[in-house]
Every structure is written in C-alpha cells, then in structure tokens.
C-alpha cells in the first residue's frame, strides 16, 4: 500500500518542474527580467517630486529684484530658468505645447514698487495638467517669495524684511485650476487601456494561429502576408475604437473632464495610436513561440509604458535615460496629445510633433513586424 503522501513522489514532481523551468528559457528570462525591470524603474527612474522644471521669465522690469528672484528660483533646484521669452503670447504657446512648466512674469516697475513698499503682484503661471508634477515646486515658491530678495534689501530697505512679504505672489494653475487629479488621469487612462488590450490581443491572436498550426494553412492559401496582417489587425482597430468611445464618454459625463479642444482631433489620433499598438503586438507575436510567451512579452512592454510615459509619475521627474525610453513608447506621445487637446485645447499645430513621433514609431515597428513575419515563414 502506498502512503497518502510520499516525499519521494513529491520530489520527483519538483524535479520535473525544475527541468521544465530550465527548458523554457523565455519564461525563465521573464522571471528574472520582470523583477529587475521593476527594480530599475521604481528604484531609479521614478521620482514623484520632480525638480529642474523648465521655467521662463518674462521680465518687463529689468531691475535688480527681478534678477535676484531668478537667482533664488534656480537656487531652489525646482526651477530651471532656461530661456527668456519676449512676449506673453510666446510664453502661452510654450506652456500649451508643454515645453514650459512655469512662466514667471515680472511686471514693469517691479523693483521700484518693491522699494516703495507697494507690495506689487508677481504672476507665476504653471502648467498644472498634472497636479503632482507642480505641487512640490509651487510649495517651495511660497517660501521663496518670503526670502528671495532679502539679500538685496539693504540699507533703508532692510525694514521691508520684517512684516508681510515685499511682493504679492499670484499663482495661476493653468489647465487644471482646481488640481483635480482625475482630469489628468482619466484622459491618460485611454492610452493605457488601449496599450494593454491592443498589444495583448494581437500578440495572442497571431501566436494562436501559429500555435494551433492554422497559420501554415493560411500561408498555402492565396493570402499575402500583408493581407493576413491587415486582416488580423482590423477587427481589433474597431474594438479599440469602441474602448476609446467608452472612455471618452465616461471622462466627459462621469468624471466631467473638460473638453477644451477638438474632440475630432482625439478621435483621429486615436486611430494612429491604436494601429501603432497593434503593430507592436504583431511584432511580439513573431517573437513569441506560444501564447504564454506572447503574454509575458506584453507584460514586459506594459510595465515601462505605464511607468515611464508620464501616466503614473511625472515625466519630468525621471532621469534622462528614462525619459529617452519614454520617448520611444507610443503611450508617452498619445498621452501628451490627449491631455493637450482635452485640457489645454491644443490644436493641430500644437500636437503635430507628437503625432509625427507616433507615425514614426508606427513606421519603424511595422517594418520590423513585416520583416520578422516574412522570416518566420521560411
């Protein structure tokens, strides 16, 4: 009679699992790779308190206090005063495109008014689409205002150091005045959902054809690789469009996210983004040998997509290498487009750069997909 539980039988089972684990190289690589990836991304790339945010100063005063203020801004490490802008319009334009995070307007006569003890107003405009990206900097700004020009308050002006700050700081949070994080998250979610489902669905559906042997049959039929590829992808474009519609409807009517720009622009760029994701999925299907591997590849892709695209954590908080990876991911560009159009009212010319990047990514990925797909036949 055999015992209900045999240690030897269990060891046999364990041994078998190890042999199989070792054979399945890609799964093994994933088991090592995913934790490593998480370690690198969470440990080095992510920073929820971004510093060195691009700031422009519109200085109509050219006085000593303005210069002192700029020096103080830079000293805080939150602001990088990279450029001087010459007009309000130019600054607005740069803010809308996301080139600038902050704009500081020093009014004419600022220095003289401070000296007179008039407490002039100083306007700081922030691109507050993502409240998290600016909160640290704005908090510092309050403290800064107290002391920024203290070193310059000498002699008769020293009296101004005591009492209320020498000037009034007016902070204008553009695009998301009440700092509602949903306004930022919900439009971004559209890209995230599309990435997950589009990449996964195509990767799986193409790998399934190969795994079940039906691909061979398709290839002896008079179908060209392009016909197979487009035929397989198109149904998912429609599914993706349905997802876009659902999320847009929810963001407008459930979360009341403002729709400042043109809805049509979002709808049009979505097509490009969906197709780009499908091409990525198709490429994965040419790399994966079975559906499990396809799923693992999707996960491997999804992780940096949500972490480095600016969806979860401020893009500007990441080190340069992480930003470079972010630039390669389609989600980063789509996120900027959707947020830009919905919250900032970006028009075609504002988003053209991002659309161009999406198109470039699509082109490169499609070329890889077609090449790899051809090679798998022979």
């Amino acid at each position: 009679m055999s015992a209900a539980f045999s240690f030897r039988r269990m060891l046999a089972m364990i041994g078998k699992e190890f042999v199989q684990m070792r054979r399945d190289r890609p799964t093994f690589a994933m088991m090592v790779g995913i934790p490593l990836l998480q370690l690198v991304l969470f440990g080095f790339a992510i920073n929820s308190d971004p510093r060195h945010l691009p700031t422009a100063v519109l200085d109509a005063d050219h006085g000593p206090f303005g210069r002192a203020l700029v020096a103080a801004l830079e000293a805080s490490t939150y602001f990088d005063v990279r450029r001087a802008v010459s007009s309000e319009a130019e600054a607005n334009h740069l803010l809308a495109r996301g080139t600038l995070q902050f704009m500081v307007s020093i009014p004419p006569d600022f220095s003289r008014q401070v000296a007179r003890g008039d407490h002039p107003a100083l306007l700081v405009e922030a691109d507050a689409t993502d409240p998290a990206a600016t909160s640290g900097a704005l908090n510092t700004l309050q403290e800064l205002a107290q002391t920024a020009i203290d070193p310059d308050l000498t002699g008769a002006l020293a009296a101004l150091k005591a009492g209320p700050p020498p000037f009034e700081l007016r902070i204008h949070r553009r695009y998301n005045e009440e700092a509602v994080s949903q306004y930022n998250v919900v439009p971004g979610l559209m890209g995230v959902v599309l990435t997950m489902t589009m990449v996964m669905m195509t990767a799986l559906s193409v790998t399934r054809e190969r795994e079940r042997g039906t691909m061979e049959n398709l290839l002896v039929m008079p179908l060209s690789p392009l016909e197979i590829m487009v035929g397989k992808i198109t149904p998912y474009v429609l599914v993706g469009y349905l997802q876009v519609a659902v999320i847009l409807a929810a963001s407008l009517w459930v979360f009341h996210v403002p729709m400042v720009g043109n809805l049509l622009l979002v709808m049009l760029t979505s097509v490009l983004y969906i197709v780009a994701n499908l091409a990525v999925g198709f490429t994965f299907s040419t790399l994966a040998r079975n559906q499990t591997q396809a799923l693992q590849l999707t996960l491997f892709y999804f992780l940096p997509s949500i972490l480095l695209s600016g969806f979860m954590f401020p893009y500007r908080g990441m080190p340069d290498w992480a930003q470079t990876i972010g630039e390669i991911l389609p989600l980063t560009h789509f996120m900027r487009i959707v947020r830009g159009v919905m919250l900032k009212g970006n028009g075609w010319s504002d988003i053209a750069g991002e659309v161009g990047m999406l198109a470039l990514i699509l082109l490169v990925v499609s070329l890889i997909a077609v090449r790899r797909f051809r090679r798998t036949l022979d």
Binding site: R212, G213, T214, E216, N217, L219, V220, M221, P222, L223, L377, D378
Partner: protein
C-alpha cells in the same frame, strides 16, 4: 505521354547547416497517387512544403503543374490542395464556417453552393453547424480534405493525413482519395501505414533527405532483393525470442521480427542468409518456410541500410 505534374530535380533544403532534403528528384504523372514514405524526420514534410511553395528550396529546380517552383509559388498555391499533418482549420468555427472561409479566400464563384455541395459529398451536411473542435479524428480529416479540395486543385498534397484515425475512417478516406484520383487529380500522400502504401500507384521512399527507391510496390519490393523466411514454433517450449537472440548479428541476417509464435527473418544477401540459417534449421523446434518479403520488410531493411550509409558518410 502527358507532362508530369511534379517534376523536380536536385531539391535541397538546409535548416541552420543541417541538410533536411538532399538533392531530391521526383516525377509524378497526372492522375496518379504517389505514396511518400520514410522514417520520421526524413524530410517528407519539408519536401511537400517546397512543392506547394511554402518553403523556397536552397538548391534544385523543377516544376509543379508546369509552373516553376521558385518563380511561380503564388500561382502554384492556387492550384494545389495541401492538407497539413496537424488539423489546421479553426476548431472554434463550425464546419460550414470553415469551408465558407476557405471558399472566400480563394475567391470561388458561387461559394455558398460550392460549400453546400462539398458538405453533401463528404457526408458532413448533418454536422455543418457543429464546431470543428468537437469532431472526432476521422471527421476532422474529412473536413480537412473537403476544405483542401474546395477550390478544385489539380494536385493534392497530403501530409500523413490518416495518423491516429481508426481503420474504418482510414478506409473511407482512401476511397475518397481514389475517387479524386479517378477524376484526374494527382495525389502525393505521405504515410507510415504499409496498407496505405500498397494502395498507391507508385511509392517513393526517402531517408535522411535522400530518395532511396521509387516505383510501384512490386518494383520496390523486387529492387530490394530481400530474401525472407518465417520460422514457426513447433513445440510450446520453443522460444522465438531465444531464436532471435541466437541469430542476432550473424552474417547475412538483416531483419529479425517476432510475430507472436513465429519469427520473420530476412537478409539482402540470399546466399549468405541461407548459409547462416543452415546451422539453425536443424533445430526441430521450428518449422522454416521461405516467403515473399512484405513492403514493411523492405522499408525496415532500407531504413537500416540508409542509416549505415549515413553514418558511414558522416565519419
């Protein structure tokens, strides 16, 4: 004489330095059933894939249906029916949906009527709404055959179509193949079943990617020059296994196969075989009888010989 449907010379295919098909030449006349035999991994599937344009040969040339296998792969695909080794239609689609899909891909006129006719002809009409995945092995083969002849190909390539199918379904399947050949379709079918090989007009045997023999069953058997005997046990204590052990490795013995209480013995050199057997024939426990070698004997003999050649060439 009409032009052959398949005429290839020196077909060679390598995968990563390993030669899978080695200078293979083949000719098949129209309306014939050509049996394609050989051990597992001998290059049968690869050859079939080269013939239907799925793979491009590394070397060699030839025509399939009068079309160049290198240049006209696309045109060949339209006129060839290919049934893969593994069932390769959609298990989550119904019988009818599968056939309709094939009809549409080939752009067949009157697709609906054609699908209905195919369903009727193959006795699948009652099952047309059933999912292909729910069909038994024999029915799946029927569906696969129906689908691969839907576009009325002139050449049918079948890669081990009856593996794992019960004898009755196999017989019915072969009746259909003969029916199709009778209608003028040329068939190339790979198989491991000897009874199926004997149903072919012509057979070709390949091992290690090389064509070893080709011809009718009788020609192939004769060309092997194999002499065979059957030793039947006379006494209950006579052990066939023990006899086999005694003969193993002796000069002239190429083939030893126990069949119940009998032992099948054969050799390529009849005189040498006779000489070796003379010693053991004195044993009264066994009755010896000379018989005709079967096709299976010939193949097992060929398989052994080609392995020796291959290993000899390798060193």
């Amino acid at each position: 004489m009409t032009a052959p449907v398949i005429a290839v010379r020196g077909l060679t295919k390598r995968f990563g330095g390993r030669t899978v098909v080695d200078r293979l030449s083949l000719a098949v006349e129209p309306g014939r059933i050509m049996g394609f035999l050989g051990p597992n991994g001998s290059g049968k599937t690869t050859t079939i894939r080269m013939l239907c344009g799925l793979l491009t040969p590394d070397e060699g040339e030839g025509t399939c249906l009068g079309l160049d296998i290198r240049r006209d792969a696309a045109a060949i695909k339209r006129q060839v029916g290919y049934m893969t080794q593994k069932f390769s239609y959609y298990e989550d689609m119904s019988v009818e949906e599968n056939l309709a899909f094939v009809a549409r891909v080939y752009g067949l006129p009157g697709a609906r009527a054609r699908v209905a006719a195919a369903l009727e002809r193959l006795g699948l009409a009652d099952r047309r709404r059933q999912l292909a995945g729910e069909l038994s092995g024999g029915w799946k083969q029927r569906l696969a055959l129906a689908a691969s002849v839907l576009h009325e190909p002139r050449l049918l390539l079948l890669d081990e179509p009856t593996a794992g199918v019960d004898p009755k379904a196999r017989r019915e399947f072969w009746e259909q193949i003969h029916q199709l050949a009778d209608e003028g379709i040329t068939v190339l079918v790979s198989t491991h079943y000897m009874d199926e090989a004997e149903r072919c007009h012509q057979i070709a045997y390949i091992a290690y990617g090389q064509l070893l023999v080709e011809g009718t069953v009788a020609e192939v058997v004769a060309s092997a020059g194999l002499a065979t005997y059957t030793a039947s046990a006379r006494a209950p204590q006579a052990s066939v296994v023990e006899l086999a052990r005694r003969l193993q490795g002796r000069p002239g013995i190429d083939l030893l196969a126990p069949f119940g209480a009998a032992l099948h013995v054969g050799g390529g050199d009849a005189a040498l075989l006779e000489q070796t057997l003379a010693a053991v024939r004195a044993d009264p426990d066994f009755a010896w009888q000379r018989d005709e070698p079967s096709l299976e004997d010939v193949f097992i003999h060929l398989m052994g010989r080609s392995r020796d050649n291959f290993q000899g060439a390798g060193t």
